[in-house]
């Protein structure tokens, strides 16, 4: 394709990306460098149905004047990135200096909100992604061998977990795993433990979220692999059969190499999606045991009683973007090299 044709083809979407993705990210980056002005307090008398008390109140006029002068707030540089609720540089170096052992240091680090969230986010990403790829692959192989009469309905049913909105799907499961729910009740019977609760301990909550993640994403990898299976060269397969390859060897030496590029594609998609895990944490009310980077952003933007932390949310957003870039780098390098070899 000549460059000109390519440019005329791409410019509308490039413009849209610039306007709706790149510029907002720049704005978020700018906001993350600022914090609110120092509030000016005045002591006032506050009366209501329960009597009067003297309380501190923000002086609106003084604050408004400060805001007029500097609408963005005070410049704080990387202060928000390094404070305790994010990278916690001071807390980490203090924990390192006063460490009594590696385990104790790690537990101190994991007590900090950002690293606690990061630990679940990474665990979720690196457990769910391979499981999704493997499960999707085997489901695709199985569906591919079905008689054509059953294929359509089976594909439809297999896709259901992906069709259901994450918030709704995880909410339904949350009710089902309740001690009074069908899954929770069955598990208590199986393990003969009336106190067993998937919502009570952090370990079980993590497992629940990971199982949900695999259940929700497997259809995506299944459908990609299933499409790929339709393109496997039949003559290669037949010659493998003539050479006496059994079914497993056919899969290993013909099908898997053929589908390898798809594995890269699914890994890319899944790493990105799973690193931004969010909905199941909300639906499973799992904040006590599992938080993720996206959940921290949501929590800062929701605030408590109007204490919305835009700077905090902006900093975490950028750290998430950086995290995604780091995760994708090895996969992208691999793809780049593969393309280079072909060229």
């Amino acid at each position: 394709m000549p460059h000109r044709t390519f440019m005329s083809f791409i410019w509308p979407s490039a413009l849209a990306m610039l306007l709706f993705i790149a510029l907002p990210i720049v704005s978020v980056a700018v906001q993350s460098l600022f914090v609110a002005h120092e509030q000016v307090f005045v002591a006032v008398e506050n009366c209501g149905p329960f009597g009067c008390t003297t309380v501190q109140k923000i002086d609106p006029q003084a604050t408004a004047a400060l805001r007029e002068a500097q609408p963005l707030g005070q410049f704080n540089g990387l202060g928000t990135y390094l404070n305790r609720n994010h990278l916690a540089s001071a807390e980490i170096s203090q924990a390192w200096d006063s460490r009594t052992g590696v385990g104790e240091f790690i537990s101190k680090v994991l007590n900090l909100p950002f690293y606690k969230a990061l630990s679940f986010t990474l665990t979720y990403t690196f457990v769910v992604t391979p499981f999704v790829i493997i499960l999707g692959f085997f489901v695709a192989l199985a569906v591919n061998r079905l008689p054509s009469f059953f294929k359509g309905p089976t594909i439809f049913v297999s896709l259901l977990p992906m069709i259901v909105t994450p918030l709704v799907g995880s909410l339904i499961l949350f009710w089902m795993i309740d001690a009074d729910g069908v899954i929770g009740g069955t598990l208590q019977l199986i393990f003969d433990n009336p106190d067993l609760s998937l919502k009570a301990s952090p370990t079980l909550t993590w497992i629940t979220l990971i199982v949900y993640g695999v259940w929700h994403s497997a259809p995506f990898s299944f459908i990609v692999f299933y499409a790929g299976l339709q393109t496997v060269p039949q003559d290669t397969l037949e010659s493998a059969m003539v050479d006496g390859a059994n079914r497993w060897e056919q899969v290993r030496y013909v099908i898997v190499p053929h589908l390898l590029p798809l594995v890269v594609f699914i890994s890319l998609m899944q790493l990105m999606d799973n690193f931004r895990v969010f909905e199941p944490i909300i639906s499973f009310s799992a904040e006590a045991s599992a938080t993720s980077l996206s959940w921290i952003i949501y929590n800062d933007l929701r605030g408590t009683d109007g204490n919305i932390l835009f700077g905090s949310a902006a900093a975490t957003s950028l750290l998430t973007i950086i995290g995604v870039c780091i995760l994708l780098t090895p996969v992208l390098i691999r793809t780049w090299r593969a393309h280079g070899a072909r060229a």
């Binding site: 914090v35 009366c47 149905p49 329960f50 501190q56 109140k57 007590n111 009310s285 605030g303």
Partner: protein
């Protein structure tokens, strides 16, 4: 935060009805846009205000359990998305922090006949909100279970623990206590209640410096942990809706729950007659040998946006006056502890009144209280799961609060 309100994240549903014009409203122009929390009393108030719709004026209502997460952004817009917002001790402060609500003195003088003095929320001499009901968390107990266990009505949290022990050892219930301990706002609120019951103060006097890492704080956390040992293991996921459901299912004998739920558990719906007849209310228990109930007093009311035209503000005030009229309260006696004059007391309201008579403190109206509340709500889960000591949890709350308070310019 409950299931329905999460749905509301995806799209809040504005309920705009169109009933016939109401002659007594006296509003013939202007746009009234109300956002309010979603519970029986607020439904009654806003339904009454909706009667002003038509006849040249438009009244719309958005009932949303997560209203407090929406109002600051909605009122910051100019013109504001809503002309009036449900306000409480804590949410009024969040609106005043950004100077988003207007003083109501002139409107009260002009159209406020019949407002009881206790309904006026005045800050520095300015009326900033009109309250319509009082609310507090207080003790709900099951008379039949306490009788079977041979214990009296618990007056203190030590009594609650002793009663729970008796109930459990007699095999009456596995988890006799329930609590709104869901990580986040609910858990923070339970900490606030218990810490005040222990006689603690949150900040160094007259400043935003936190002061909770002390012996009272440790005693507070240890009491919360002791209570949680008699709760269903899922307690960190339980909000008011979940506790109400467990109560109505008959799984719980004692809980410290909102007065606004007292009507709902005795309304003949969602439970059995046997459970409902034995559901009784009392003052919130005291703690650590103190005499004040470990609870906070709340008022619910309305504040009016600053960023709207004066005409809309006036129409809004009139519509609210209709919504919170004594007549409305008399028609809905059982839904709340109304503050209006001349409304008979409701049977289910005894817990709130007893808690207020016991001199429980109102929820602190301080600009930086929300930040501390939020820090407590997110940092206490580790302690209750047994992952860290009480001192460490308190230090964590203070550290998380400091980081947030610095960002908001409080420190």
């Amino acid at each position: 935060m409950n299931i329905l309100s999460k749905m509301a994240l995806i799209g809040a549903v504005a309920i705009a009805g169109s009933s016939s014009a109401f002659a007594g409203c006296g509003i013939t122009s202007g746009s009234v846009r109300i956002i309010a929390n979603d519970f029986p009393a607020s439904q009654a108030v806003t339904a009454e205000a909706m009667k002003c719709d038509g006849n040249g004026a438009s009244v719309t209502v958005n009932l949303n359990k997560d209203y407090k997460d929406l109002i600051v952004a909605a009122m910051t817009a100019n013109p504001a998305e809503y002309t009036t917002s449900h306000a409480t001790n804590s949410t009024l402060v969040s609106l005043m922090n950004d100077d988003l609500v207007r003083p109501l003195n002139d409107y009260v003088a002009k159209y406020g006949q019949g407002i009881a003095k206790s309904q006026l929320i005045t800050v520095d001499g300015n009326v900033m909100a009109i309250a319509f009901m009082a609310n507090a968390q207080h003790l709900f107990y099951r008379q039949d279970i306490l009788d079977a266990a041979g214990v009296g009505i618990p007056a203190s949290y030590d009594d609650v623990l002793a009663a729970a022990k008796a109930i459990k050892s007699k095999g009456l219930m596995d988890y006799p206590i329930a609590g709104t301990y869901k990580a986040g706002w609910n858990l923070g609120e339970e900490f606030v209640n218990m810490y005040l019951g222990h006689g603690g103060s949150f900040f160094k006097s007259g400043s935003a410096e936190p002061a909770i890492n002390n012996a009272k704080g440790v005693a507070t956390l240890n009491m919360m942990k002791a209570l949680s040992e008699y709760m269903n293991p899922d307690f960190l996921t339980h909000d008011s809706n979940a506790v109400q459901a467990s109560w109505e299912a008959g799984n719980v004998a004692m809980t410290n729950l909102w007065g606004s739920r007292a009507g709902a558990v005795t309304d003949g719906e969602g439970s059995t007659a046997d459970i409902e007849n034995n559901t009784k209310f009392a003052s919130a228990p005291t703690a650590a040998g103190g005499s004040t109930p470990a609870s906070t007093l709340w008022w619910d009311g309305f504040a009016i946006a600053r960023n709207i035209s004066d005409a809309d503000a006036e129409a809004t005030f009139k519509a609210i006056m209709v919504g919170i009229s004594p007549e409305m309260a008399k028609a809905n006696v059982d839904k709340a502890n109304w503050l209006m004059d001349g409304v008979p007391a409701r049977a289910a309201g005894v817990g709130v009144i007893a808690t207020a008579k016991g001199a429980a403190l109102p929820y602190p109206m301080l600009p930086y209280m929300g930040a501390l509340h939020g820090a407590a709500g997110s940092e206490l889960a580790d302690f209750l799961q047994g992952k860290e000591t009480a001192e460490q949890a308190l230090a964590d709350i203070e550290a998380a609060y400091r980081a947030a308070a610095k960002e908001k310019g409080f420190l």
